[in-house]
Point group: C2
Chain length 165, copies 2
């Protein structure tokens, strides 16, 4: 059992610019990637992927398991984890380790973003800032290293909690 998570849609690109049915696009991509790899599309995989794409982001394996159980009570934890790994291989999912014991998973292939996490209510807000990205590159250069990826998490109080508290 982990900290509860609330989701805020933050700084999403305007709806018109996004494809109308992300869900279907993603399922198609999933099928294509599986075919490429000679893997099979099966009931449990469909269910898990569908729930994962449908649900809000930053879900834990435990939460995903519970959700999938609702529509397919037959599915076991092993299949959840195996499908999560498969989705990751297919570059449709990325795994995050926030300050908790368990991993959280989110849809990948979107534009890069970082996270703000409210320490009071647990809300996770995604954001992206060009300036920060550039400055990180500059710092890396100064250190003489090559950057492949990064992880930035800001922790604090969201506007709502600050007002309340």
């Amino acid at each position: 059992m982990a900290r509860e998570e609330t989701i805020a849609a933050a700084e999403q690109p305007p709806a018109e610019r996004r494809p109308r049915n992300k869900m279907q696009d993603r399922m198609e991509t999933f099928h294509a990637r599986m075919r490429e790899r000679g893997l099979k599309s099966t009931g449990p995989r469909e269910d898990i992927a569908r729930v994962f794409f449908e649900l809000h982001r930053h879900i834990s394996a435990e939460e995903l398991y519970a959700e999938v159980k609702k529509i397919n009570p037959h599915v076991g934890y092993a299949t959840i984890y195996r499908t999560l790994k498969l989705l990751k291989d297919c570059e449709l999912l990325s795994e995050r380790h926030f300050d908790e014991g368990q991993a959280r998973y989110e849809v990948a292939g979107e534009q890069h973003h970082d996270h703000f996490i409210c320490e009071k209510c647990g809300k996770i807000v995604e954001f992206e800032d060009e300036g920060l990205e550039r400055m990180q590159q500059a710092v890396a250069q100064k250190m003489g290293v090559t950057l492949q990826r990064h992880k930035l998490e800001l922790y604090g109080l969201c506007g709502e909690c600050r007002r309340k508290g």
Copy 2:
């Protein structure tokens, strides 16, 4: 068993500005904080704290256990974890979760810093950049949130590995 770690001392403040015997200072602080809390200074606690302060940073519980065993083979895992938690309570240790299953621990109370992690050799380099800190504050302000802390990890190739690879 986890990924091996190499340590690079990076951008440390000049030696003259640091107290000569950090180790003793830290042990004294540890004793003081324990006294404040009505807790006892004991053999195992001494050994664990000493090894922790002596050793390089970003150690895992497993590694610490192995090191402590060398000087006190009697100590168990439970005491390692309990003492790690105690050191954290005493604000002498901070716990990090990089992209691995297990936690890593480092000496706290130093100036704030972020981490670069080489994806090839596992080397961890600490760094600090004022500009980045300021820009994070600016981004937080733009989002209407209050920042309490943050975590920035850069992943990539260190100079050495890039040259080799």
